[in-house]
Each structure stands twice: as structure tokens, then as C-alpha cells.
């Protein structure tokens, strides 16, 4: 332990702590902006400066480690003056339009101004290069960038995709894509992890709110809305609930209140995905065991950021991907066919809106592959943050709306479906069903407990043995499969490199584009600290445990859907509506232009 004094208080902290950490640990609050606990440390804003006795210059407390006998002052005249000055300089090249900025009231820069007691801005200046770049998923307004570089850490170190980096030097420095190419033209996955950490209004989701209001007010349109599992354990945060409060009932009621006609559960389609993917997996296993052509490992396909990543980075490996659409696009396709027929509504008079924790899904629905009969499966994707804003705009408070329930025929779902919101969840949900299909017995393991691999902390794996299979699955007798889960795209790269080198020991791989899965998606409430994420995760596990049934194949709604409409898993109708194909892109989109 290191002993030092902060503001005349003697404290003792572990060696290697920074002054900022030491202060925080002892409930002394030092303003800090660019620093993001456990994620990003760069020392660019310098708002965290403190006086250290004996040092001539003020020190950035987030970068300097404590030393024995150090005497630190965090709140002297000099420190306060310098901080204010730095803040005002920051404002001098910032597009200050708080009154119409999406980030107002949740902006870390705005809060900092208040925290520092800044009441004037003495400097005026040009903004350094205010490009505005709008893609189907993410919008960038660089005149609001404060160069904290958190997004660079998220994109390069956490995701290892490397779309955003500092360009140019000195006053002209901007954070951007290579040579300022529009982000829609490079190999960005639209995972939104950069958006999730941006402290200001510089990075955000591309707005779908106006389109959705348009659909709602269109009298001829039946507007169907569906909710993803990770949204319900997070949206409460926007309305003052404790993180991890599960507010499904309130959310459904709120959606009805603002004018949606029908509310479906994306989890219904998650159960359907499990059935389709299990059947696809077992077919590939059978072929491979019988020495026929089959692509293994099978790779999950629920995460559109991961899909786009494979298309750019491993365009030769697309046939490893499951052909299943993501659950919300499956549900959209069914809403505009099965449900529309039932109701005798023209599919073109329907609009399907998905509420998702995700920015990549905004891009996904614009893909030409995600259409049937010339209509998009899903017409708009709203992030968790966006739907909260819509409700606030309409004066709807989740705390006051009461509760409601999902509508038929897509109202039921299993505990397994809830797990789709978490890294490892798709794997667990699928194995629960595969194991029972093959052996007729329940899978004995729960919550795929495994430690991260030594070689890559974003990857876990487990083994599963199939004994005494049922008659139809004799080919699985005594077979042990190895499966792996990647939480984030750095982990995905690890698994893909094994496949490229033909060294993959796995039969099935789940990848979620965001570290931790959809609970930490790019569209979720900000900021998401590790404690908040932990609470969202617990809330999902809890949901799984209290559900009436916990396995996808127990969903009677799904059984009925096959009986009445789809006939059989992976059958013709399912292929048409629920499965898709992928596009070779290449790192520089070189496959797209020929």
C-alpha cells in the first residue's frame, strides 16, 4: 500500500493506483472528462489536474501514479483557475448548440461546465473541421468532438476493427475515418461501441424517430412494434429506475400510449431462431459426420455488426454463417405474411418498428436481403435511447403508465429467448434445444460457466457429449462437440483466424458484436458503467429463471406457427421468410464495386 495525503487527509491505496483513483476511493471527487474507468486513459483533456507539492507543474491526476508521501491538493485557487481556462478553451471550438442537441442534459461536457462553475466563455475560435457524416446507422458531428479519444480505444483496442483514429496534426487534428471517407463507405461494422462511450453529441445513432412518428400518424398504416430482450432491462434507467430493473410491462403500456397499434415480443422470434438454427446445426453435423460437404463450425447470425464484420474481414468464410435472419427481421417477415393474412391486412399497409439496443440493426434493415415480396421486413429500428426520447416527447412516463402485455400471436417466449440479450445466450439457448432434440433429455448444465481463454479474454469455450441419442440422431452417438462464444469483435478475430488456418476445434460458434452482448449495445442508455452492465445481466438471468418455460421448443406459439404456416423447420416457407444470404464486401469494399 502507498500512503499519501490528499487535501490534508491521509489515505492509503494499492500501489499502481493513479491519483484520480486514490481520490475516488476516498470519496474525493476530481473532475475528469476524457478518462473512462476501466476503459480509456489517455490524458487529453487535462481537466483532472491537481497540485502535487514539490512539482512545478500541475499534474493530470488520471495519468500520474501515487507515490509514498505524496501531498496532493485537488481544490486550490490555481487548480480551479486552470480547469476553467481549459474548459473555456474546449468550448472555443465546439459547436455549442445545446438547446437543439440530442445529448443535452446527458452530456458529459455540459455537466462538466456546471461542475466547474463556468459562467463565461472568453475565447472564440473556429471549429477545427466540423464534418457531419450521416450513415444509415451512425451519425458523426465532428464540430462537437472534444478529442477525448474514447471512441478510438473502443474501436481499436476493444473491438480491434480500427475505423476511427486521429487524423492530421496540431490544430487540424480530427478523430475520423481514413482520409475522411464517409463511414458508410468503409468497413465499419456499425456496432456503435464508439457511440456508447462518446461523452458528447459528436457520435450518435442516426435518427429514426421522425419516420416512426410519420407511420404512427398515418391513418392507413397498422403500426406493429416489437421489443428486444436487452431493451427491457435497460430502458428503465432513462426514467430514473435503478439499473437492472425489468420494465417490460410498463414499456408495452408506454408503447400503446404513444400510438403503436400492436406490440409483439422479439423473444418469440428468438425461440423460432433457436428451432431453425438447431435444425441447421444438426444437418451440418450429420453431413460432416457422414463425410459429406458441410461447413463447420456453424457461426451464429443474430448480431448484424458481427455479420458485417465477417463480410468485410473474412469474405471467403461467409458459408460458415447460419443462414437464419436475426430474430427481429424474422418477426418482421412473419408480421407481414402470417399475421397480415390472419388479419386480412395488406402487408404494404403495415409498418414494423423494432426497438433494439443496437445501432447495427439500423443498417441491417436497409440490406436488400432483408426484404420479402418487395417489402422490407422491418421498416424502422429505434434504439433504447430513441424510444425513451419519443416517450418523453409525448409526455409518457414509464413510472406512471401502468403495465400491459404482448399481443397475440407473437406473445409467448421461453427463458432461453431472454438469454439472447447476453453474450453466451444464443449458445445456451440453442444447446438446451439441440441436446433435448438429440437425446430426449434435458441439458444438465446451466449458464455455460467457463473461464475466458488464456489466449483471448473475449472468448470462452465448453465441451458437450451426446450419449444414448434417440433413433433419428444415432449419428451423434458418443460425439463430443466443442463450442465457443466470443464477446466482442476482438474475440471474433481470434476464432476466425483459427478457421482461416483450418485449426478451429469448434463445431458451433456464437459471436455477439458488442462485448458482453446486447446489454452493452451501441443504442443503450449512457453511460453504462461496469456496475450497470452487471445489473442488466443479472436482470436477464432472473427473467430466464422465472419464466413459465425455459426452452425454445416448449413455446406453444412457435409449435402452432409451424403447424399452421411454416410446416417444418428449414422447410421451403421458412427458407423464404426466415433465412437469408450474405454479401462479400472486403476490407475496402473491394468486392462491392465491379
Amino acid at each position: 500500500m502507498i500512503n499519501l495525503s490528499i487535501n490534508n487527509k491521509l489515505v492509503s491505496v494499492p500501489e499502481g493506483s493513479t491519483i484520480l483513483e486514490a481520490a475516488k476511493h476516498n470519496k474525493i471527487d476530481i473532475p475528469n472528462l476524457c478518462n473512462l474507468d476501466g476503459v480509456h486513459k489517455f490524458g487529453s483533456c487535462r481537466l483532472c489536474v491537481v497540485e502535487v507539492e514539490g512539482d512545478k507543474n500541475l499534474q493530470a491526476s488520471c495519468m500520474v501514479q501515487v507515490r509514498d508521501g505524496m501531498v496532493v491538493h485537488t481544490n486550490t485557487d490555481k487548480v480551479r483557475k486552470v480547469r476553467k481556462n481549459l474548459f473555456e478553451l474546449m468550448l472555443s471550438n465546439h459547436r455549442q448548440d445545446c438547446l437543439k442537441c440530442q445529448r443535452s442534459l446527458s452530456c458529459e461536457l455540459q455537466n462538466m461546465g456546471k461542475r466547474l462553475g463556468v459562467t463565461e466563455a472568453r475565447y472564440t475560435g473556429q471549429t477545427s473541421g466540423g464534418i457531419v457524416d450521416i450513415s444509415p446507422a451512425i451519425s458523426r458531428d465532428m464540430a462537437k468532438c472534444i478529442l477525448c479519444r474514447r471512441c478510438i480505444t473502443a474501436c481499436n483496442d476493444i473491438q480491434k476493427v480500427g475505423i476511427l483514429n486521429a487524423q492530421n496534426s496540431g490544430f487540424k487534428t480530427v478523430v475520423g475515418t481514413a482520409l475522411d471517407l464517409p463511414i458508410n463507405t468503409v468497413n465499419c461494422t456499425f456496432c456503435g461501441q464508439c457511440v456508447a462511450v462518446c461523452p458528447v453529441g459528436a457520435l450518435k445513432e442516426t435518427d429514426a424517430i421522425q419516420n416512426v412518428w410519420g407511420a404512427i400518424s398515418d391513418k392507413c398504416k397498422r403500426v406493429v412494434v416489437q421489443i428486444d430482450p436487452a431493451v427491457r432491462v435497460a430502458i428503465g434507467e432513462e426514467f430514473g429506475y435503478e439499473p437492472g430493473t425489468q420494465v417490460t410491462g410498463q414499456l408495452i403500456a408506454g408503447l400503446r400510449e404513444i400510438g403503436f397499434d400492436v406490440v409483439f415480443d422479439t423473444n418469440f422470434a428468438a425461440d423460432l431462431t433457436v428451432i431453425e438454427a438447431s435444425s441447421e446445426f444438426l444437418t451440418r453435423m450429420k453431413y460432416s459426420l457422414e463425410d459429406m460437404e458441410a461447413r463447420l463450425p456453424l457461426m451464429s447470425s443474430c448480431s448484424p455488426a458481427w455479420i458485417k464484420y465477417v463480410e468485410h474481414t473474412y469474405p471467403e468464410k461467409l458459408d460458415h454463417l447460419s443462414t437464419c435472419k436475426s430474430p427481429h427481421t424474422m418477426l418482421g417477415a412473419l408480421a407481414k405474411s402470417y399475421y397480415a393474412e390472419k388479419l386480412k391486412v395488406e402487408p404494404k399497409n403495415m409498418a414494423v418498428v423494432s426497438i433494439m439496443p443496437c445501432t447495427a440493426k439500423k443498417f441491417e434493415i436497409s440490406r436488400p436481403e432483408m426484404t420479402n415480396n418487395g417489402l422490407p421486413n422491418v421498416d424502422a429500428v429505434l434504439t433504447t435511447r430513441e424510444i425513451a426520447r419519443m416517450m418523453q416527447e409525448a409526455g409518457v412516463d414509464l413510472r406512471k403508465v401502468g403495465k400491459s402485455q404482448f399481443d397475440q400471436p407473437f406473445e409467448l417466449s421461453s427463458g432461453a429467448a431472454e438469454l439472447f440479450g447476453l453474450s453466451g445466450g444464443v449458445m445456451e439457448a440453442t444447446l438446451r434445444t439441440v441436446h433435448e432434440m438429440v437425446t430426449g433429455r434435458e441439458l444438465a448444465i446451466d449458464k455455460l460457466q467457463a473461464a475466458p481463454l488464456e489466449e483471448c479474454d473475449q472468448v470462452k469455450d465448453v465441451e458437450l457429449r451426446f450419449d444414448n441419442p434417440l433413433e433419428a440422431y444415432q449419428y451423434m452417438a458418443g460425439i463430443t462437440i466443442k463450442v465457443a462464444v466470443a464477446s466482442g469483435l476482438r474475440g471474433a478475430e481470434f476464432l476466425m483466424d483459427q478457421i482461416t488456418k483450418q485449426e478451429s476445434p469448434y463445431s458451433f460458434i456464437e459471436v455477439m458484436g458488442c462485448p458482453g452482448g446486447c446489454i452493452s449495445g451501441g443504442g443503450q442508455p449512457r453511460p453504462a458503467t461496469s456496475e450497470t452492465l452487471q445489473k442488466r445481466l443479472q436482470a436477464i438471468y432472473q427473467e430466464d429463471e422465472v419464466k413459465l418455460f425455459r426452452k425454445a421448443h416448449q413455446n406453444e406459439g412457435v409449435t402452432k406457427l409451424y403447424k399452421e404456416f411454416l410446416k417444418e423447420p428449414n422447410g421451403q416457407k421458412a427458407q423464404d421468410l426466415l433465412h437469408t444470404q450474405y454479401t462479400k464486401r472486403g476490407k475496402f469494399n473491394e468486392y462491392l464495386c465491379d
Binding site: N165, Q167, A178, L179, V186, K587
Partner: protein, 167 residues
């Protein structure tokens, strides 16, 4: 030298694009896994190719397995790297206070007009690159400019034509 061949090949004894890329590939493979090798590779690539066009940056990014945004980030950070083709001759016009006041700006305007380019660019025939500099140390004889290693003092804009004719 054999002249019939691909479009990019030329007859004046210069290397073809393909030969330059092969050379750069060799350099990359030699430096690839060394710490901080990107800057060295960019340097040598620029020496071989003359400048660093987008296609070359992509080539380097791919072969070194480094994100393109990082490669472009480094090449835009250091002024020595140029993403524009360099002209055979570099014209530097002084924009120090003295020169600016005494017609440096006019020289720049005129040159931009004559060459059909902006400061920082290279003329279409790749003959000249136009730059401005802080001070050439010839304040007493402003406005001054420099072409390659030669300094021209008290330049009269109307004489620019005859100066350029020497190159």
C-alpha cells in the same frame, strides 16, 4: 526496354507501378513485425513511389495488417508525407510578415492561376508543386520565393513566366 505492355508501363526507363509495388511489398515484409515500423515503411514507400496515394495506403494497410485509418492517421500526422503526387520542382513562396505585406500573397494568387492548382497541390503535368513557407530569411528583399534550392528575391509577379520558363 520493352515498350509494349501494360498501360502503366512507360518507355522512359522509369519503373512501372507493378515494379514499385513489388519493391514496397518487399520492404513491408522485411519490416512488418518490428515495433514502430509503419513510419519507416511509409518513408521508404514514399521514396519508391514519390508520394502516398490512397491505393498505396490501402496496399500498405493490408499487407501490414494495420487498419487503414491508422496508416492514414500516421501519414497525415507527419508533414513529410504527401498524399498528392509531388511535382518535379517545388515552388515555395514566402508568407512571412514582410513578404506577405509586400506582395507574397499576390505571387501565390498568380502562381495558382498559372498552374491551375491551389497551394499544397501539384500541377497536372507533375512539373510543379506549390507550397507556402513561414520565412525564407530574405525579409529585406521581399517578396521572396524558392524553386528547389534556388532563392528568388524581390519577385515581380509579371516576371514569373520567365522564371518558370527556366525549368
Amino acid at each position: 526496354m520493352d515498350c509494349e505492355a501494360t498501360k502503366s508501363q512507360c518507355c522512359c526507363g522509369e519503373e512501372t507501378d507493378q515494379q514499385k509495388y513489388d519493391k514496397i511489398a518487399e520492404i513491408i515484409d522485411q519490416y512488418k513485425n518490428r515495433e514502430g515500423s509503419l513510419i519507416q515503411v511509409l518513408h521508404m514507400a514514399q521514396t519508391v513511389y514519390g508520394y502516398l496515394p490512397m491505393e498505396l495506403l490501402k496496399f500498405i494497410a493490408k499487407r501490414m495488417d494495420i487498419p487503414l485509418s491508422e496508416v492514414s492517421g500516421v501519414s497525415t500526422f507527419y508533414p513529410v508525407f504527401s498524399m498528392q503526387p509531388r511535382g518535379k520542382h517545388t515552388i515555395k513562396v514566402c508568407m512571412g510578415t514582410a513578404c506577405y505585406v509586400r506582395g507574397g500573397k499576390k505571387l501565390v494568387d498568380r502562381l495558382e492561376n498559372m498552374l491551375g492548382i491551389q497551394v499544397g497541390e501539384t500541377s497536372e503535368d507533375r512539373k510543379y508543386s506549390l507550397e507556402v513557407v513561414r520565412c525564407l530569411g530574405a525579409c529585406g528583399l521581399a517578396p521572396a520565393m524558392m524553386i528547389d534550392e534556388t532563392i528568388y528575391k524581390q519577385v515581380n509577379p509579371d516576371k514569373l513566366n520567365s522564371i518558370l520558363a527556366k525549368y
